[in-house]
Amino acid sequence: MGSLVDRHTAFLAALRGAGLPVSIAEGLDAARALGVVDLIDREALRAAYAATLVKRPAHRQTFDTLFDLWYPGALGDGVALSDEPPAPPADDEDRPPVPPALDPQVQERRRELFDLLLTGDDAGLTQFARAAVGRYGRSPGGQSWFSSGVLQAMSPQTLMAGLLNSVLQGQERGGMAERVARRRFRDRIERFESLVATEVRRRIAEDTDVERAARLAVRPPLERLDFNRAGRADLQALRREVHPLARRLAARLARRQRLARRGRLDFRRTVRASLSTGGVPLTTHHRPRRPHRPELVILCDASDSVSAFAHFTLLLTFALREQFTKVRAFAFIDTTDEITRFFAPGVDVADAMTRLAREADLVWITGRSDYGHAIEVFDERYRDAVTSRTALLILGDARSNHGGLSLPTLRRLAGQARHAYWLNPEPRREWNTGDSAAEAYGEIVPMYECRNLTQLVEFIEDLA
């Protein structure tokens, strides 16, 4: 790619390809911004692009990944290394590879890394990551680049104990100081790992081509992340989203209720107010409206296969408690128990989930989902929870391990409720495969696919 303009347009195309809504006007703004910032200063360039093109925090990570590919911080090795040759590829046949723990050079490098992590020198860490990838990042055979080689050789995680020791000299362990320090170093180690990953992507892009590397590097944004595919870090990030999300949703719902017609004219207040304008009623006053808020009963599958999804839906509904007159939640695996008590107002939701897993009585015989039995138990014990004011919400993948389904009972319950909905976290194309009874249940209760935050939010907006 030759000129700056070519690179600029290719970069915009890549952003659009990754799902960022970059309009033509914004592209022109970015081009104008390039004319006034110092192009030599890479961080100023990054800020200029970000200010003109990235208008949602959720897109920022994608943007950064692509920016690092299109405007790399270095070319080739990027540093004038000391004159040691690059490490021989691991499958060099002349001599067996030395295990990293015994290689004095590796140990030397790790000491360097230790000092950088201790001081938190970010520029130094960047340089170091670049050199380390150049040296240990070649994949076996030397064809490509990979980060696991670097992370194995440097094993930054194992430096933690030493780092903590050097900060907490003489202080008692296990207290607040240690936790705060541990967090600080964990952030720095993560920073190092992400620098290595960025560097590896840059090298791959240099060897092959930028577009391909970009396609490989970009992950879906959080709000579109599939619940069932979320890793542990993703789950944490999602949980962090719950409160702000609930706030946003609540604001939107409240606004919608306000827009639903003003209340009746308050004649008395209007006339009173008109006295100050010589009897001319310039402003009218209205009585407030009584908004309609449904009661909500949630019946949720708590087995492992849908745990992440059930977890979020419960968190979100309880965060939105104010939007409903009453919320009651029941969980089941092969029998059913009420779990509302774990979500008393003011309780920490993350705690509620752990207590729920420990204390609720959800297992009857096998500990595998049995929808049929669970529905029967629910009907027997908690039938009175479902009234003509209730919206009944069922969460689960409808996989009953070929057990009974209790269709008539569910039909009666759905008939009792004002509305009934079923949220299924499986992709629609997998419904009715194997032991899924999605169709049978879907005939009684309308079933919706709900695989990510976006879909969940849309549904709850319709519900409230």
Binding site: P21, S23, A25, E26, D29, R32, A33, V36, V37, D38, D41, E43, A44, R46, A47, A48, A50, A51, T52, V54, K55, P57, R60, G174, G175, M176, A177, R179, V180, A181, R183, R184, Q236, R239, R240, H243, P244, R247, R248, A251, R252, R255, R258, S276, T277, G278, V280, L282, G346, V347, D348, A350, D351
Partner: protein, 291 residues
């Protein structure tokens, strides 16, 4: 149009003189908004210094700050302009009996009876102006339409008076807590800056600048602890202002080290929910009887 700042580096310096420690990304974005003449939308959690930034830009540029605070139910009459009905009524009632209606009619729709609201005020000023539209997300969607209209042409049409065009474009800052998504159209018109909690180093410098007399060592400990609190899953993360308050509290109590007991005693300064405090006590291993 003359620009306020010459370069990002100069922006950093002048904002610092105005008491705002900006990092490179903030300074570059402010500089660009000024150089390209576009409104700047600043979004981020509560208490990261969004409004402060607008005030600092005003003070650094020697401009007047005109502020429009958004709220639910804000309408054109409160944001743009409004006729002073009561005064007009008085004028009609006090009109001499021999005066024709036409004359009166022309009389009551003049400058004298116009109530200027922030948007119109910012447009009509001839001196350098920073227009701060605060908490844009709190306003209703209709207001966004109005803002789009005003911010794209910087002119307002008042049917009885004609069109008022800006003599001098104000530097516009919109802030938002992201309580709802602002419309795509509005975001497209603006440059965007996402302000998040500052890095520990920057926050330490802020504490040192705001709380004279505090030891650097203590400030360091303090911002690290606040960082640890923000990382917990809590309802309301401590803002920068709360960090500064905490530093002042420690000074006032004469504590020169932030140990478990000190944190437990003063936790109420930074965490304002009981469940948040309980969580912090548990996660940081504080003595539970501190409160």
């Amino acid at each position: 149009m003359t620009t306020l700042f010459a370069s990002p580096a100069e922006t950093v310096r002048r904002l610092a003189d105005a008491g705002y420690l900006a990092d490179e990304a903030i300074a570059t974005t402010v500089f660009l908004a000024d150089a390209l003449g576009k409104p700047l939308l600043v979004e981020g959690p509560a208490g990261v210094g969004k409004t402060e930034l607008a005030k600092a830009v005003a003070s650094a540029a020697g401009a007047e700050l005109v502020r429009l605070q958004c709220y639910e139910g804000l309408d054109e009459a409160r944001a743009l302009y409004e006729w002073n009905y009561k005064k007009q009524l008085l004028r009609i009632q006090a009109a001499p009996t021999d005066q024709a209606w036409d004359a009166t009619h022309d009389d009551i729709f003049t400058e004298e009876f116009l109530l200027e609201r922030p948007l119109l005020a910012a447009i009509r000023r001839a001196e350098p102006t920073v227009l701060l539209i605060d908490e844009t997300d709190k306003a209703d969607v209709e207001v966004e339409g109005l803002l789009l209209e005003v911010l794209s042409d910087f002119q307002v049409t008042i049917p009885e008076l004609g069109t008022v065009a800006a003599v001098r474009r104000p530097f516009v800052v919109l802030t938002s807590n992201a309580a709802r998504e602002l419309s795509e159209a509005l975001k497209r018109r603006c440059l965007y800056l996402h302000l998040d909690y500052p890095t520990p180093e920057r926050e330490r410098d802020i504490v040192l600048a705001r709380v004279p007399g505090i030891e650097a060592e203590l400030a360091e400990q303090l911002v690290r602890t606040v960082g640890a609190l923000r990382a917990l899953e809590i309802k309301k993360a401590p803002s920068i202002a709360e960090t500064v308050d905490w530093a002042r509290t420690l000074l006032a109590l004469g504590l020169d080290e932030l140990d478990e007991a000190a944190v437990a005693r003063t936790l109420g300064v930074v965490l304002k929910h009981v469940s948040d405090q309980e969580r912090a006590v548990r996660e940081l291993g504080l003595p539970a009887d501190g409160r």
